[in-house]
């Protein structure tokens, strides 16, 4: 269990506290926290380990109405200035699905497109956690684009297969009249 420092309302560093103790300290979503291994201070709501502190009032990062503009005192050197919008849609679930599902339709070459989508989708959260909202948004758009490209090509592939099957079923009657061809198809 990691122990955290946090920045109190007076701008002074306090710590260390276990996540449970932080609740008693009145840590809020936008309180800056730090623990060993972190490169910089982060807002408590960005820490996965501290989600439970806000779980009763926690809404997903995609909801637009939360995220007040946070402006910290510049005298506190590490403060992030300016506001950062809610995290853009990551597209992780969709891109993983669109990568695995084409295997079912024997169209493995399509999966390469899904992998591109996954790479972009993974970047969304990284950039967002670093505070680079624009880059995060850019990755989200690219992930969406590649997920959709992969999806439509997969749908097109399935449609082709369906047409092929229908043609086959329609033709099989006439083909079976010729000796030899039926055997060839079943070989």
């Amino acid at each position: 269990m990691s122990h955290f420092f946090y920045i109190g309302t007076d701008g002074k560093q306090k710590g260390t506290f276990s996540p449970e103790e932080l609740r008693g300290e009145g840590v809020k979503r936008d309180t800056l926290v730090w623990t060993q291994g972190m490169e910089q201070w982060k807002r408590a709501e960005e820490m996965e380990e501290l989600y439970f502190l806000f779980s009763d009032s926690y809404r997903g990062p995609q909801t637009k109405e939360e995220q007040p503009a946070v402006q910290y005192d510049h005298s506190v050197g590490f403060a992030r200035t300016g506001e950062i919008g809610p995290m853009p849609k990551t597209w992780l679930v969709e891109s993983i699905l669109v990568t695995i599902l084409p295997f079912l339709f024997c169209s493995s070459f399509l999966n390469l497109l899904g992998i591109i989508a996954i790479v972009y989708a993974a970047q969304v959260e990284s950039f967002y956690n670093r505070g680079d909202w624009n880059a995060s948004m850019e990755s989200s758009r690219s992930a969406a684009k590649w997920t959709k490209i992969a999806m439509w090509i997969a749908i097109g592939w399935v449609a082709l297969m369906v047409i092929a099957v229908i043609l086959f079923v329609v033709l099989i009657g006439s083909i079976s009249g010729f000796p030899g061809i039926g055997d060839l198809l079943n070989a």
């Binding site: 996965e48 989600y51 997903g60 992780l92 679930v93 969709e94 891109s95 993983i96 699905l97 990568t99 695995i100 599902l101 084409p102 295997f103 079912l104 339709f105 024997c106 169209s107 493995s108 070459f109 999966n111 992998i115 996954i118 989708a121 993974a122 959260e125 990284s126 297969m161 092929a164 099957v165 086959f168 079923v169 198809l185 079943n186």
Partner: protein, 127 residues
């Protein structure tokens, strides 16, 4: 998205899924020539990570789990994962269980999925 569009998509997907399940149940991909062949296998002679998944689904629909695992173990094990993802994304799962989504469909799980796919790809062609 408008509600009518959503329902329309739902109906189309359900009908297609039912048709696909019926076809995979009735016809054995092993014996019938009408199922598409893997272009990667045809081109290179190596199996792709998805090869055998149609036969695996046919076996699964006939409750022959052993055969399904032999045809394509990865796809059989991936099916619950796929269902989980669809439920999280499209049936409101991630609103109530965002921690599950974070764990199974986070950044690192995406990397794990890719590694598993490639390992399975290599290993199945070596064994």
């Amino acid at each position: 998205m408008r509600k009518g569009v959503k329902i329309g998509i739902g109906v189309v997907v359900t009908v297609l899924l039912a048709a696909a399940l019926y076809i995979f149940y009735t016809f054995d991909p092993e014996a019938q020539p009408l199922f598409p062949k893997c272009p990667f296998l045809l081109a290179t002679g190596f199996e792709c990570p998805g090869c055998g998944s149609q036969r695996a689904i046919h076996s699964l629909l006939h409750f022959d789990i052993g055969a399904a695992l032999r045809y394509n173990a990865f796809m059989v094990l991936a099916l619950p994962y796929i269902f989980l993802g669809i439920w999280l994304e499209y049936f409101g799962g991630k609103k109530r269980f965002s921690s599950i989504e974070k764990f199974f469909f986070g950044r690192w799980s995406a990397v794990v999925v890719l590694i598993v796919i490639f390992l399975f790809w290599i290993v199945r062609n070596l064994v």
